[in-house]
Symmetry: C2
């Protein structure tokens, strides 16, 4: 197939580009790992497709490739990390490492991050906790695309949450989701294919439901999980608000409509209320609650029970959060990753510019 690449080729390419951006060797390895993990897990919108976006923000002076991150405030179980305008791909794992170290000592660790940038998939960071027999939590605020229930204004990002919970013989439970009805990446896929969106994903600039997949670009908004008030969109709004407050207000980052855009062609708001964008990560030792063997045995039982739930006619099975991404990862590791034509052009363009082979 055309546009089919091995994980290794894309990883090495991403690494080379991050090195050209003057990231340290260690940071370039980490950042390319976050991107490739996303491509492998099937979240195409957050993988190498974003590489050129990071490059352009760096060229515009909005990403610091050599961040000196530091803890600006802490207690035994908490910290605030200043990301020094670094790549979120690098800053968020550092924050997660702080959370994990705190959890080792006092059971849980919670780190709010300011002065950062787009952190890739939330799942990468949460899943760092799993190998330590810890539950991992991560969330981030993001450029405003989402209107609160009853509003026409874009005041929140798609503000994802990921929670990763270890099991024993079963694979871990990994729920990673935008707090909107549909993630922006899904809408972009429809846009490329010139297809309509289901009603309940997008509203027009007047706040009316629309099937126009380009509605957000035309002044409309994404809507919170629940789609409308009658179906609980005020709950989706509450979730997105929670993520924004933890990521932005607790940390000292920007929040709400002040979160700077991820794209270099849009300027950040002129009146920031904080520094950069914000994340919030946490790690909880399962044995801070009960012996880990007990916990894992019951997680296995939980997962097995839900896996074998009776299904609606026409549906094969109940999907345990994390299953689709893990299955995709297995396939793509063997069969490679197919990139969209536009992404390939984009990568070729930066390859050319940086004199790196692709």
């Amino acid at each position: 197939m055309n546009n089919l690449y091995t994980e290794k080729v894309l990883r090495e390419f991403a690494y080379s580009i991050f090195r050209k951006m003057e990231c340290s060797e260690q940071d370039a390895l980490l950042a390319s790992d976050v991107l490739l993990r996303s491509d492998l897990r099937g979240i195409d919108s957050h993988g190498v497709a974003r590489l050129s976006g990071y490059v352009r923000l760096w060229e515009a002076g909005r990403i610091n490739a050599k961040p000196v991150t530091k803890i600006t405030h802490e207690t035994p179980s908490t910290a605030v990390l200043d990301g020094d305008r670094g790549l979120g791909l690098v800053v968020a794992p550092r924050a997660m490492n702080v959370a994990i170290e705190k959890a080792k000592i006092c059971g849980t660790g919670w780190v709010a991050v300011k002065n950062s940038n787009h952190f890739g998939i939330a799942g990468y960071h949460s899943m760092m906790a799993l190998q330590h027999d810890m539950i991992g939590i991560s969330m981030t605020n993001a450029s405003p695309l989402v209107a609160p229930t009853f509003s026409t204004e874009r005041l929140l990002g798609t503000n994802p949450i990921c929670i990763a919970i270890p099991a024993g013989e079963q694979p871990p439970f990994v729920a990673d989701f935008a707090t909107t009805t549909a993630a922006n990446g899904k809408l972009e896929m429809l846009q490329r294919k010139n297809e309509k969106a289901p009603l309940g994903w997008v509203q027009t600039k007047e706040g009316k439901p629309t099937t126009n997949a380009h509605g957000v670009k035309e002044g409309g908004s994404l809507v919170p999980l629940g789609s409308d008030r009658e179906h609980g969109s005020h709950k989706g709004f509450s979730l997105g608000a929670w993520v924004d407050i933890f990521s932005g207000v607790l940390s000292g980052a920007n929040y709400g409509p002040w979160v700077p855009p991820f794209v270099s062609f849009l300027a950040p708001p002129p009146d920031p209320v904080g520094e950069g964008i914000g994340h919030f990560v946490g790690a909880m030792r399962v044995d801070a609650f009960r012996p880990k063997e007990d916990f894992k045995k019951h997680m296995d039982n939980w997962i097995a029970r839900f896996r074998k739930a009776n299904t609606i006619v026409g549906q094969e099975k109940v999907i345990i959060p994390g299953d689709p991404e893990r299955e995709q990862e297995k396939i793509r590791l063997m069969e490679g990753i197919v990139l969209n034509e536009k992404v390939v052009e984009d990568l070729k363009e930066i390859a050319n510019r940086f004199q790196v082979s692709f």
Copy 2:
């Protein structure tokens, strides 16, 4: 108006009944406070309407009115509390107090609770943190009424989450919501009025969407927030699962389909996987992240900005989580609480049985 009661009358009545159940004076005060707070805040399904249910569970020997709760496992920032089969109304605040004490020392405190019962409104427990300038979080699992996406089986409760965040001059942000499209209490209201439910709240026992508000009683299920897969019900399922795992699996309580029913006429499952039902509560000092004056100033700014968001034509304003309940509380404190006819009958019946005036 008929069936209009002052908060004081209902509070004293609930207190008397809890005393007749042989709760200690302190526990009876606390339990009646949780119920009345719910009635005041407009969550009628969780107030004195539930009193007779607690009585019947106690009569059936399934609630211990004199629980000796104890911490069975702990670290500096975590604990597991054994509720000793007590009223959740009493056990959950005790757990929250443990979380708050831990947060004072190490920034945050997290308590998983097993061997408990229905805890009333989640909001009560989360809001305990506010007076300490802490963020409060509470969640609980519950009797299974909800089918996971693609399933016909009721495997989860409506599993609510509440997060309460202090502000400065603005009232606190308090988001308290079931992780389903609609809470069961809303469905009960439609049932009493013999009205239809909106599509997307309930499915039949075959898993088909239905407007039958009695659908759950007829073998159907409530559905997770999002309503269907296309509108993100897998995210609502993930949220409900998260609450179940934190409340049940972390604590050593029952989880999923093993959670015992809240009503005395249904027997608990014969093969429990844990003890009683479970809750999970947390407290986070805001000054464990940044000086509390800074935090409050920015929370005020967050709330003010969202409050003045442009609205869709026909909508008055964007609703900040916690506003409707607080406004209701103000009104009902002054004007009293109107009880449903059936609830009044129910209360008269227990008044009679216990020889308490009502």
